[in-house]
Homo-oligomer: 149 residues x 2
Amino acid sequence: MAGETKQSIDNEAQIRELIDTLLAAVSAKDIEASLAMYSPDIVSYDVIGPLQNNGATTIRKRLNEWFSSFNGHIEFEFRDPQITVGENVAFCNGLHHVKGKMTDGKELEMWWRTTLCLCKVDGKWTIKHSHDSVPFDPATGAASLALKP
Amino acid sequence: MAGETKQSIDNEAQIRELIDTLLAAVSAKDIEASLAMYSPDIVSYDVIGPLQNNGATTIRKRLNEWFSSFNGHIEFEFRDPQITVGENVAFCNGLHHVKGKMTDGKELEMWWRTTLCLCKVDGKWTIKHSHDSVPFDPATGAASLALKP
């Protein structure tokens, strides 16, 4: 957008670093380190209901439940994130891949779509809006939980 | 982000106009007018599969099928879109509401989440990435198609 200016290269590098930090934090099930990437007033659309979640406190609750459902660490990947940066607004989309052993003994493996919308305030990027989902099959009404890229 | 500068006010007004144009185009089932809002290289995540769609030609195919499934016009609403604008990059999220009579005689009414990510190139905003979805219920694996805000 802004061309390959030094600023856009720096912004993209900062967002890649944020993503790497978030992936490491989720893998380690570190709630505080994960939450540090989100704006307090984030609006998030999650893979499971409700329709929307307002504020980082709902992210905290959700991460807490999600992390607790895994036995040990989580293999968490962001496949080929596409990052588009402006001066103070950016977005990033790609596919998340999760693998791990659940506390009920089952293995979870799943791919889903993720969109992160970010703002830079006082020199720091945070996630202001996130959208995570799987599509559904209109023939059955079931969520398509076993799709692979 | 950029504060209430003239540019950010102008950019927000341009994006509101794009959204209004898109809503009118979808309501009227006008494929060309809808497609004019999208970047040719758009990556879109749709409410139904596959995981991702690349390029505006897949949007054309999908709109064609979707529009054909309605008998008459579509009531199409974007409830309270939240717009965040930068100089050349912006995003917008909110809830879509659709109501209409299908060709099989059934009434469709549904709410879903939408995120539009936009870029301004040569003075014109287009949608470069879109993400539309409903959440699913982890207890049943069913898509939650009857949620209301």
